[in-house]
């Protein structure tokens, strides 16, 4: 368990904690970006270079920007008057703690029977490409259709404004 792993794990968990605990929503989004970056570095530590760079490109380059745009478009940067945590925060916290307790217990119990380390896999991008159009072509095509549907759906969902206003104006 190298020092690099501990540092990266600490960075990621700190980013995650900040993302759910901070009061200012934009700060939460930026802390989420730090968590994503920490995760990408953890992927690189696990020799999954393609997944790590894809994580940076997709999550930090697209999802984080989506989140900040949504925060700006919904005026989330103003502090709410009733506080940032909901009324049932204790129940939520208890559930999350219970989930972590169960997962942690299961992990530590099964630590004896987990497989031993294998050699470092050498994964080239060419192997990934061949796998994507060979063995995993069906998921690839389905994800393509899913992304197209999500793109069209998101545009339509966020766009209905003009049609409704026109209808109300003509009544």
């Amino acid at each position: 368990m190298s020092i690099v792993f501990y540092l990266l794990a600490a960075l990621t968990v700190a980013g995650g904690l900040a993302a759910v605990l901070l009061k200012n929503t934009v700060h939460c989004a930026l802390a989420l970006t730090v968590a994503f970056a920490g995760l990408a570095l953890l992927f690189l530590n696990l020799d999954a270079q393609f997944a790590g760079f894809a994580q940076i490109l997709v999550y930090i380059g697209a999802v984080a920007i989506l989140v900040v745009f949504a925060i700006l478009l919904t005026r989330g940067s103003e502090t709410p008057k009733d506080g940032v945590f909901s009324r049932s925060w204790l129940a939520g916290l208890a559930i999350a703690a219970a989930v972590f307790a169960v997962l942690g217990w299961a992990l530590l119990q099964s630590a004896r029977v987990l497989p031993h380390e294998t050699a470092v896999p050498t994964v080239t991008v060419q192997q990934i490409g061949v796998a994507l159009v060979g063995r995993y072509v069906l998921p690839l095509e389905i994800v393509g259709m899913l992304l197209t549907a999500a793109l069209i759906g998101a545009v339509i969902v966020a766009m209905h404004e003009k049609v409704e206003h026109e209808k109300e104006g003509s009544k």
Binding site: C28, R87, F100, L146
Partner: protein, 103 residues
């Protein structure tokens, strides 16, 4: 504690942090942030098992994680579009105030 256990514990911790965020915050966007954290924790789990599992040359874990990243991006886009539309309608993103089915 093997390295695999370390990664899995980090993933479990991130998952519970994301779950706590999704269950306790008022703002709808923060719930989505919690969901993204949970998805990322699952990705970390997948990659850790791919690396320390029996057949890393089959690339199954890495493929699963890549598809998960793509699907999570799509889900974030649609979810945030919905949140923006809800804000237009109800003028707020406070989930505690959206406790009625009547629009």
């Amino acid at each position: 504690m093997t390295p695999l256990t370390g990664y899995l514990l980090v993933a479990a911790l991130l998952f519970s942090i994301g779950l706590a965020g999704a269950l306790t915050r008022r703002n709808a966007i923060l719930v989505l942030i919690g969901i993204e954290l949970m998805l990322n924790a699952a990705n970390l789990n997948l990659i850790a098992f791919w690396r320390y599992g029996p057949h890393p040359e089959a690339l199954t874990g890495m493929m699963f994680a890549i598809f998960s990243i793509a699907v999570a991006a799509a889900e974030a886009a649609v979810g945030l579009g919905l949140v923006i539309q809800i804000h237009r309608h109800a003028k707020t993103t406070d989930l505690d105030q959206m406790n009625r089915m009547k629009g």
